[in-house]
Amino acid sequence: MSIYTLIDHWVKERKLFEVVPALGGPIVRRMVISEPIQRLIEGPWETPEWAHRCGLLRGDIDWFVEGSRLTVAKHPYRGKTSRMLRLDPEVAEIWELRFRDPEQIRIFGRFADKDVFIALLWEFRGDLGMPRRVIEKTRPLTPEDFPDVWRDASIQCKTEWMNLFRPYEPTHGADLHDYLSNAVFV
């Protein structure tokens, strides 16, 4: 059994959902999402404002799936306007998709293969919090400098992965293009 078989199994069981571009564009990068993220995309939405925010999110997700150019941060704590980055510690292979204004949303997941992203959970950026103190100029930031909710999100992401895909590990790449096609560092 390959990890692709497992993905197909969970999609069939409706534990995961395969994103197909709303307007029928090409699927260049696969994105398979968990139920909480699927609810963001498919609704129902409680308010018109939330529906609008989720529409923006859907547009950005389709942008990813259709294989358009992605900006990726080279360093976990820099490149704040990139669309994607790998969280520290990088060995955990947890990636963050960044969806910006008006109400910033972060989606966390892991790569099952090149251009196959498993999106497992989401958070509002505002709920994740900022570093406890500004220390970047004196020493590099570490995960411990951030509120525990970041660590919790990371642990939850790993747990979800284990529950779904054990014994398979996420992709470990030596190069950005081991993860993504048509991506550039910022």
């Binding site: 959902f17 709303a22 529409g55 950005d60 990088e90 950005l176 293009h177 550039v184 910022v186």
Partner: protein, 195 residues
């Protein structure tokens, strides 16, 4: 189970009020296209050493960090931002629209039948639907850019424009050392935003 099995354009093409979610979707789509247009233009010119982030910052009287933020993601861009960034690179946007009614009929119910094979774009550029003019307002769909300088245009006309830089499998973007304790590094030949 796949996402987007429903006819996504139904409310838009029916003439009913457009739901907020669809408005948001197309706004994100346009914003992303604008961003890609500018990023592609920048990467192409940077590769030719015709422009740098510092050049753009100087021409727009902005901090280089602001230019980096703009190039990283569209964020809260305005049309003014798009114009300014392209102008600083000697370009201006050229805008056209597509008729979603025609594009939908060409796609059919494709949203529920999508495969992983790459498809040709279903959209028809520069369609001007005289019978259903409201559909032409649905989106500004395709953006081109053109050089601002006469010399550049003449030079471009004389020779084919080189293709936009695309990441290659053997790109020198790599992690230094051995996994897992290393960070991204980039060598000098990398196509990227850094200088």
């Amino acid at each position: 189970m796949t996402i987007s099995q429903t006819p996504f354009l139904s409310e838009i093409l029916s003439g009913d009020r457009i739901p907020e979610q669809k408005l948001g979707y197309f706004r994100a789509r346009l914003s992303n296209r604008m961003h890609d247009l500018i990023l592609s233009t920048f990467l192409e010119l940077e590769k030719r050493k015709d422009v740098s982030r510092a050049d753009i910052a100087r021409r727009l009287n902005r901090e280089p960090a602001q230019i980096s933020r703009w190039l990283g993601a569209p964020g809260n861009w305005t049309l003014d931002t798009v114009s300014d960034l392209l102008l600083s690179m000697g370009h201006e946007p050229m805008v056209s629209s597509v008729n979603l009614a025609i594009s939908q009929s060409s796609v059919g119910a494709v949203a529920g039948e999508q495969t992983q094979e790459r498809r040709e774009s279903p959209f028809v550029e520069n369609e001007l639907p005289l019978t259903k003019p409201m559909h032409t307002l649905a989106t500004v769909a395709t953006l081109h850019f053109r050089g601002g300088a006469r010399e550049r245009n003449a030079r471009a006309a004389a020779q084919p424009t080189p293709p936009l830089p695309q990441p290659q499998e053997d790109s020198p973007v790599h992690l230094s050392g051995t996994l897992p304790s290393t960070r991204w590094q980039r060598t000098e030949q990398t196509v990227g935003l850094g200088r």
